[in-house]
Symmetry: C2
Subunit: 213 residues, 2 copies
């Protein structure tokens, strides 16, 4: 349970919308000095009251009849989301997805620093992928502690995903971004966000078929 400024619990969906607000304020920057909750809502496809409620969990940002100061909000949201501080991250699983993520440019401008890769395959341990070393998963616990790693990105086959996830928790990882096509069974021990590519494309496939012409 994560609580906001006034002590109320912040719903997870609101937290998940926060980076989207940041994207809009980043885009609005240099386009004007302020924006009303009505105009921001129109831009984002939500209502003015939704915008005001969402942002109110994180601080007292707006001013009645004035709106939000764009530069100030952008900077506050950057602080809240730790965009300007470094978040040490590792990638577990050096397959196609893991390798592509080592070259994913938007990480660096969001404070996400990929520190190391881990795999179980002896043949690739010691390999450098885009200047990042592949380590043996046996050395995970020590590496996480010594290098102050907070987030693990899991790009492993679903058959071993739960086992890997449990050992990540034991090693002191604080949060997981999971690409494996299943829901990890971690009983809320640490926060998990999922990127389920197949779920997204199947939902799209359904919508395409059912949509009236």
């Amino acid at each position: 349970m994560i609580k906001g400024k006034d002590g109320t619990v912040i719903p997870k969906v609101v937290i998940e919308r926060l980076p989207r607000y940041y994207r809009y304020f980043d885009w609005l920057d240099n386009q004007g000095e302020k924006i009303s909750s009505k105009n921001l809502g129109d831009l984002m496809g939500s209502s003015a009251s939704q915008v005001r409620l969402d942002l109110s969990y994180f601080g007292d940002f707006g001013q009645q009849g004035y709106g939000y100061n764009i530069k100030k909000l952008k900077s506050e949201l950057a602080k809240i989301l730790r965009i300007n501080s470094r978040t040490n991250t590792i990638i577990i699983g050096v397959g196609n997805v893991g390798r592509a993520l080592t070259r994913y440019k938007p990480f660096s401008s969001s404070g996400i620093y990929i520190s190391a890769l881990f795999d179980i395959k002896p043949s690739i341990i010691g390999e450098m992928v885009n200047n990042i070393m592949v380590h043996d998963i046996k050395n995970l616990a020590e590496y996480v502690t010594v290098n102050n790693i907070e987030i693990a990105i899991m790009a492993v086959p679903k058959e071993i995903a739960n086992e890997i996830a449990s050992s990540l928790v034991k090693c002191g990882i604080k949060g997981i971004l999971n690409f494996a096509p299943l829901d990890l069974d971690l009983r809320n021990k640490i926060p998990v966000e999922n990127i389920h590519i197949i779920d997204k494309i199947l939902a799209l496939s359904f919508m395409i078929k059912e949509r009236p012409e």
Copy 2:
């Protein structure tokens, strides 16, 4: 607006949960004959009434006091999500993400067939990536029509994403899976699903920091 069996509009969040139901029924297969909405809800972290309501949009699947027949539900959901029929798909943008997706194994078992790649860079047009040809984006319209392409996966820089998306709509693409870190401005012309990797990891970063120890 997509309507269910009884004519009511199916909320988008329910459609987006449907592939998750399929994953659970696929996993439950061979583990028993039937499952109650209560047990399914416990498994998925939702309530029995949520499960019953969600599934009721798509058909009359359950039986009071009996539960859901696992094999039947799995097969019905596969039909609804078109898992056993072929969905012709193209990838726009042959960068790190685009290339990784040509090797993404779970596509084939979900009916997703990557038919071609498209890019604007002359130096890579004609290249074969994992046995899939890179075409010139100028030939998009003809290719989409001739090859009956339904879905485009966009893995392009955000600066050109809206322009590409508009031309995809003009070419007759029916749905877009967008990996670019912005919301496409398509005014609901066709369904879009987003994979916003940075949004997910920033939400995680916030939750890690704010979580009580």
